[in-house]
Each structure stands twice: as C-alpha cells, then as structure tokens.
Symmetry: C2
Subunit: 208 residues, 2 copies
C-alpha cells in the first residue's frame, strides 16, 4: 500500500509516519518509483507498537531501542528482560547510596548481580525523594509494596510465552512498559475506593 493508505489503515497521519521513518522507528517501504514506496502489514503492526509506546510516555530514543530489540531479539528470555528494561530506563547518576534500596529488595530475594544496577539505583533515588519530601512511609505499607510487586512479577513471568522468540520478546518488552500506566491508574482507583470506605462519614468515627 502507499503511505496515504498506510495512514488510513492505522489512523496515524502521513506527517507522523514520515517522522517515524526519518527517526528510524519504522523501516523504509519497498521503493516502487523514485517518489513512491510500498508498505505492508508489518508496517501496520509496527506503527501500532510505536503509537502505543509513545502514547504511554516512552521517548522516541527509547522506542528506537525497543523496536531494534523486536527486530533482533536476544535468544534467552532472561537476557531479553534486562535489555528491555535497559531500553526504557533513563540513565540514573550512580552517586546515590543504594543501602536502603538493597535492604528493601532483599524481601524480593534480591542478591548482588540478580538484576541490573540501574534499576536498583532507580529504587534508591525514589526512596531518597520520599525521604527528602519528609514523607514517612510506614514499614507495613513498604512491605505490602514489595509483596504486591513480587506477586505481579511472578504471574507475569510465569506467562511468558515460549512458542516463539518473537512472541516472548513482544510479551516482555511491551508488557513491562505498557502495563506501567495501567498499574498506576489502577492504584489510584483502588485508593479512592478504600478511602471512600474508611472516610465515608468524615474523619471522626462517630458512634452512631
């Protein structure tokens, strides 16, 4: 199909498609004349991935790394997950003290070398921001965070499809990134419902 038909099929404007071509997110079509190229179903699918990632807040540079991985996947799903996380993890300056972070993730069975340093540094940075704001996170709540994330990760990894490397890559890369906005908004709904339940009658629990 021509670029105008690709735009129609995906709901992505011709201008955006040209931008993704220039940025190397979308592979070139097959030249059919000096001014025209032909696009196929692979382009339609790739555009769906690109738009979903960008709409989820992933940067163009990160999308480029993700689609490169989809095109040339690591063989072992375990290498894959590290690479997927690295692709969408902004670099963290590593002058942050990771002692409290390490203590927290010991509850996940963490040991040095079991996951990449950037993610541990991201936890340390988050904890530092929480402390700097003077927010006292109750330890029972922190324990619930660790436990809930362990359950989630166990369910996710148990469902990595092994039918083909392609499928495993899609599952791991897209699943880690695209689910983040879902989890955060689910938490907000859950908080509002729990709060409504606890404070339905205002702050003071009246005896009647």
């Amino acid at each position: 199909m021509r670029i105008s038909e690709l735009a129609k099929a995906t709901g992505v404007s011709v201008a955006s498609i040209k931008y993704y071509l220039r940025e190397g997110l979308l592979p070139e079509g097959v030249r059919s004349s000096p001014t025209q190229a032909d696009y196929g179903d692979a382009h339609v699918r790739r555009l769906g991935v690109i738009r979903a990632l960008i709409d989820s807040g992933v940067s163009v540079a990160e999308v480029r790394r993700v689609v490169a991985m989809l095109a040339d996947p690591p063989e072992n799903p375990n290498d894959l997950l590290g690479a997927a996380h690295a692709a969408v993890t902004p670099p963290v300056d590593d002058d942050v003290d990771t002692a409290s972070a390490q203590e927290l993730i010991a509850g996940l069975g963490w040991q040095p070398g079991l996951c990449d340093d950037a993610t541990v540094a991201a936890i340390a940075r988050a904890l530092q921001n929480i402390e700097r704001a003077g927010f006292a996170m109750p330890s029972a709540v922190a324990a619930e965070y660790v436990d809930a994330m362990r359950r989630i990760a166990d369910a996710e990894i148990a469902h990595v499809p092994l039918s083909s490397p392609d499928e495993a890559v899609r599952y791991v890369v897209l699943g880690s990134v695209l689910v983040e906005p879902l989890l955060l908004s689910l938490r907000r709904v859950a908080e509002q419902i729990a709060s409504g339940r606890r404070f339905a009658d205002g702050v003071t629990e009246s005896p009647d």
Copy 2:
C-alpha cells in the same frame, strides 16, 4: 536566613529558588530590606517537597496545585485524595470507551461515582494502548494486577494518620505521587529476579 543560606541548607541553587518563587511554588520570604528577604524553616521544608516532586517527574503546574493543597487542605481526607489525584492527573480526553476499564475495576468493588472519571479514563487509555500494540495481556495476570493494587491501597489508606489534617494531607498527597516511581522500579527488580529463576538455564527446560 538569607536566600544564599537557604540554598546552602537545602542543596538547591539560588537560581532554582528564585525560579520557584517566581512560579509561586515557594512563598516569599519576609522583606528585611529593599533587596533582601528572610527565609525560615517552613521554606526549607517546602523546598524539600518541591524538589522531591519535581525529581519524581511531577510538572511545575502540578507541583503548584499540590503545594496549594498542602497550604489549604480539604477537611475530609476523602475529598483530599480526590483533590490530590486531580492535581497530579493530566487531563485525559474523554472520548475513550471506558467499558473494558469498568469491567476490570469491578474487581476492586468499583461502582459509578466511587472515583473520579479522569482516573477511569486513564485506565481505559492504558488498556487501549495495550490492545493497539497487539499485546495480549493474560487474564490471570490482569486479575493479579487488580488484586495487588487493592492490597496496596487498603494498606495505604489504613495508615492515613488522623493526628492532624496537615499530617493526613502530607501522607495522602506525597504518598500517592512519590511512591509511583518506587513501585515501578520494584516491579522491574521483581521481574528480573522471577525471570532469572524461570530462565536460569535458557528457554528449554532440560530434564537434568
């Protein structure tokens, strides 16, 4: 203290402090001369909050709404949570179909009116992006997301301190926002550990 001393006490540069003053995030100090103002401990605490929010990815406009709420808190913690979420929720165009979102959060005990529409729309948008990317989220995993977020929210809301409205506001506003980066990076560590466990020996589970 003078602005240079405030900078020293907080590790925030004079230029940034002046920017926060201009943007209305930080209240003016007490004028001590035509060219000098005096700052106190409240400024030190406020700067800690501002920097923590900005470093967590909250926009200047959102920080302004959060600090306004800290200065003039709603009386009922339940109103507070909705207001806190509204302050840090980017407007979502509401032309999104929320049917699947509503089905998912029915598992949280959601009913119309129990939480704000913007958050439900955010869930719908996240689900739409997941679908658009061609990512098939296993229903068992989706159920785990819902359950994990319910546990987290229940623990968080159970710990809202009622000692003073100020404390409740700090807990709810800062807790909802500042914990988000922590949760996302905890999930990534948990995924890498679970993946290491499942795929330690490569994709094929060899019998030995």
